[in-house]
Symmetry: D2
Subunit: 123 residues, 4 copies
Amino acid sequence: MNDRDTTLQQLKERMADFVRERDWEQYHTPKNLSMSIAIEAAELMEHFQWLTVEASKRLPVEALADIGEELADIVIYSLSLANTLQLDLAETVSRKMDKNIRKYPSEKVRGKAHKYTWYQENE
Amino acid sequence: MNDRDTTLQQLKERMADFVRERDWEQYHTPKNLSMSIAIEAAELMEHFQWLTVEASKRLPVEALADIGEELADIVIYSLSLANTLQLDLAETVSRKMDKNIRKYPSEKVRGKAHKYTWYQENE
Amino acid sequence: MNDRDTTLQQLKERMADFVRERDWEQYHTPKNLSMSIAIEAAELMEHFQWLTVEASKRLPVEALADIGEELADIVIYSLSLANTLQLDLAETVSRKMDKNIRKYPSEKVRGKAHKYTWYQENE
Amino acid sequence: MNDRDTTLQQLKERMADFVRERDWEQYHTPKNLSMSIAIEAAELMEHFQWLTVEASKRLPVEALADIGEELADIVIYSLSLANTLQLDLAETVSRKMDKNIRKYPSEKVRGKAHKYTWYQENE
């Protein structure tokens, strides 16, 4: 599997099979899955906790493999939540991206990292 | 865009364009993005904080739209991290799923939610 | 040490000593400590991830010791952040409690778990 | 209230009163409170998300007040969890500090930020 040939639907189905074969739908509730994503996000953060922002850009190869696995866990639970909520993930993500494009017009925010409310308050 | 026709590559490219047009690569470092994912995961959790696990399965329609947006934010930052780390996300997720399949054989874990270390200690 | 005889100042000083003796002030920056607290919070959550809300009230004794340690880690990093920011923690907490008392008048919210914005919108 | 004169017990009792007067013990279960702490930790992180580690040390005064409130929320929910679990927080924290002192001997870790497992593997 690779990014060029794999659709969201294929990943969602693999995850749905994994959960169904283990009879884990009973645990994969929205509340529990939101915790799972947050837990995996923290495991990802742990790799960067004591690094400067700059150092986090030059990661040793062996760290990169571990970091990839943590990111995979976040995506895996996100797929399962999309399955549970019967959400079309590509559509949901695409719409949110459209919203972000409107919220952060590139000519206004280029090179700046303020939250969008800052732009509303400082026009 | 929908799950059936959209590849991971397409979503990653849309996100890369969004970041590049805003000159935000300087902020989208691994350390910062790991925080972003955790922050969005917490915003997702906020919807379920005071609900029972059961109640989280019967969400009102208007809550579902907000929840979808929070999940989208998690995926969006995950795509950006994959871009920054030059990770093939489908491959990374697929390998982690294979690992989970071996770690949690369905005949052993069916209907049970223990962590895999529990199975090692209780053979 | 116990809750009845221990002041916040005493805990803050023990933590300041621990950090200073290791020359760790350079790592205990606000950004890093905010990540540390979030990471420890996730380790705490991990104990409850697959439990129902009800089951989380009847914890086995051995789990309780582990859970206490995770909670301790959260408090420890919170003390260190208060040291770094030179915040009086008791005063800050006490003021926030006063604010919460005004925000959530007991006669209005008794037995209900809505966010305070809900009460503003539904008067 | 200030750090020098305030005991953990006093803060715990103020929090217990707040929860009891609102009949919120039913929501302040271990599972829910672990989520609450993680959510507040994320709100704290949000202030530092796009800052360099260095910049997070030079915070504007108005940011400091907001950051103090987020830290207060973390402590408030930690107090409530200690109440729910009937944990002596000072004792639990003090024991964990003792453990950390043994785990990270100052002569060995001075000025270094590796995780303790690193020291075990690199003796």
